[in-house]
């Protein structure tokens, strides 16, 4: 943590940490504690008075079917986003890793969607799937499928999952490729001498060896799907039709800024904070193990 050789105590270190600590206190710790405090309050219908109600907001949440449905929806959404983008990235990385010359060229062509903002990714996909004009609904019509994500909840969900997964493939590809390239060549060659073909080598050697990366990416992708996909949902469906794409982050925003249910929104924020903390702990414990390994 601390250098063996260090500078003597003075006022200087306090000045050095001051900007960061000040911003943390004002914009992180204070708002978070406010959210916690507000989650214990219920405002009356006219906004005239508030009452301290301990855990009543959380009890309301725990029995609120809309909230529980949103929880379930978020779980399905994030698992599908993670599975889709990681699966696609795994396939591409598996092939790219076999290319001796040109692997870096393919990498350049595959990693740039990381830089596209989620809301832009949403705009691109909603344009491609525009029910009256889009390219995909036009071709789907030939297959006998009528596409309208403004009416069908499942199609709306499919669209936000596609947009969210598209953006994340780049990140997953990068980490998978790096993990595969760090496997010693001798291991692969030994398997080849024993007569294992490319597919067999992938499933029995490469895939098990990169399992730490798979686990790491799973956590990262879940965090991404939980918290960073707000822009996609907001651009593509606004949580609709009905509430069929209202994931937890969108619900906090919607109940707080549109519905003005401060106590309920704050309680949801606290639940989300607990979720982030849990995911961060999982991520850090895993990283520690990887270092020892």
């Amino acid at each position: 943590m601390l250098k063996r050789v260090h500078f003597p105590t003075s006022a200087l270190p306090y000045l050095l940490v001051a900007p960061q600590i000040l911003i943390t206190l004002v914009f992180f710790i204070w708002p978070a504690s406010q959210a916690m405090y507000q989650s214990f309050l219920i405002e009356d219908a006219f906004g005239l008075g508030t009452e301290f109600v301990w855990f009543e907001n959380f009890q309301i949440l725990a029995t609120d079917n809309h909230y529980l449905a949103s929880f379930q929806r978020t779980a399905v959404f994030s698992l599908l986003v993670a599975a889709l983008s990681m699966g696609f990235a795994l396939i591409l990385a598996g092939f790219a890793q076999r290319v001796v010359r040109g692997a870096m060229f393919y990498r350049t062509l595959l990693i740039w969607p990381y830089a596209v903002a989620p809301v832009l990714a949403g705009a691109l996909w909603v344009f491609m799937f525009n029910p009256t004009l889009g390219i995909f609904p036009y071709f789907l019509e030939f297959a006998g499928i009528t596409w309208n994500h403004y009416l069908s909840g499942n199609q709306a969900m499919a669209l936000v999952i596609l947009a969210a997964a598209w953006k994340q493939v780049a990140y997953n590809f990068l980490f998978y490729l790096a993990a595969m390239q760090s496997i010693p060549n001798s291991v692969i060659e030994a398997a080849a001498i024993d007569g294992a073909g490319p597919a067999r080598r992938f499933w029995t050697i490469i895939f098990p060896l990169i399992s730490p990366t798979t686990f790491f990416l799973l956590v990262i992708n879940m965090v991404y799907a939980f918290f960073e996909t707000f822009g996609i949902i907001h651009a593509v469906t606004q949580g609709g039709p009905g509430t069929s794409t209202t994931i937890l982050v969108y619900k906090v925003f919607n109940d707080g800024f549109v519905g003005l249910d401060l106590g309920g929104s704050a309680a949801q924020s606290v639940v989300l904070m607990v979720l982030v903390i849990a995911m961060t702990v999982v991520q850090f414990r895993f990283v520690e193990r990887k270092v020892a390994y």
């Binding site: 943590m1 250098k3 050789v5 260090h6 500078f7 105590t9 200087l12 270190p13 306090y14 050095l16 900007p19 960061q20 600590i21 943390t24 004002v26 992180f28 204070w30 708002p31 406010q34 959210a35 396939i91 591409l92 092939f95 076999r98 290319v99 350049t108 990693i111 969607p113 990381y114 830089a115 596209v116 903002a117 809301v119 832009l120 705009a123 691109l124 996909w125 344009f127 009256t132 004009l133 390219i135 036009y138 780049a170 060659e189 490319p198 918290f227 707000f230 907001h234 651009a235 906090v252 925003f253 707080g256 800024f257 704050a266 924020s269 989300l272 904070m273 982030v276 903390i277 990283v287």
Partner: protein, 283 residues
């Protein structure tokens, strides 16, 4: 590749090329939409091959009055706002993280670990989970509709502080010893030795943070009500809403293209730094 079989080599490249096309398809369609006029963009099926209105669309998007029927700032102003926000967030994060990492690694002072944990907590509080109270704080400070309000609440950074702490810990102690023998004070040591040593780390982090800053959406959406402060990324959503009345897809998609070019360019042009930054900050 271990074995040399032309067929598998061909298959490998085929899959990769198909993958590249699948990934690029949404952007290709966006680009094609930005090269046709409004009339063509309202006839199904939409074109899949570029037309000849690219420069005209660019000109109308950048300097024209924007979409008809919307009150928006000109797109060049939005690009400037985005650039200012992205630069303020990235340089701000790097500056305050360098300073606090320096203090935590090179000084022994009371509450050192307390400060460290306070910074660590910020990792667990993304802006999405504390939007309402943070919005209230910024409103009370009178920072709505300003560059300060856009950037300052986002610049506390646990990941950057951790990264610089890691970098500083690998700097040999002998450097500090010899610097002190030569009579260098803490600030001299920081500016003349530590900063030059962590130059590539700073550059790598800058690439990641620039993208992070440029792509901010929810936060600018909440705290800017004045059209002259809108950023390019948040304008897309307003345009999509306006598209229901006046579907000028050529202009909307040209704007989308303009909004994604700067960060995508940064990734491609500084790929090595980008990869380094991405793998370092997520540890």
């Amino acid at each position: 590749m271990v074995e040399h079989r032309p067929l598998t080599a061909f298959l490998t490249h085929l899959v990769l090329i198909l993958g590249v096309f699948a990934i690029a398809l949404p952007v290709w369609i966006t680009f094609v939409a930005s090269t046709h006029d409004e009339l063509r963009m309202n006839q199904a099926p939409l074109p899949l091959w570029p037309g000849e209105y690219f420069l005209a669309n660019m000109k109308q998007t950048l300097f024209g009055s924007g979409l008809s029927g919307t009150e928006q700032a000109p797109v060049w102003l939005m690009l400037l706002n985005s650039l200012a926000m992205a630069l303020m967030i990235s340089t701000g994060k790097i500056a305050i993280s360098l300073l606090s990492a320096f203090a935590i690694v090179y000084f022994k002072f009371p509450f050192r670990m307390g400060f460290f944990w306070m910074i660590f907590i910020t990792l667990m509080l993304p802006v999405e989970v504390r939007i309402l109270p943070t919005f209230e704080v910024v409103a009370n400070l009178g920072m709505l509709n300003s560059y300060w309000g856009l950037s300052i609440p986002l610049i506390a950074s646990a990941t950057a502080t951790f990264m610089f702490r890691q970098v500083f810990l690998t700097v040999p102690d002998e450097l500090l010893e010899s610097a002190r023998i030569d009579g260098a004070g803490p600030l001299r040591f920081f500016f003349d030795i530590l900063l030059p040593l962590s130059r590539t780390n700073i550059a790598a982090l800058f690439v990641i943070l620039f993208i992070f800053g440029w792509n901010q959406y929810l936060w600018p959406l909440l705290i800017t009500t004045d059209t002259s402060m809108t950023t390019i990324v948040m304008s897309i959503k307003q345009m999509l809403e306006a598209a229901e009345q006046s579907p000028q897809w050529n202009i909307i998609m040209t704007t989308a293209l303009l909004a994604m070019i700067p960060p995508v360019f940064v990734v491609i042009a500084m790929q090595k730094l980008f990869v380094q930054g991405l793998t370092e900050t997520d540890k």
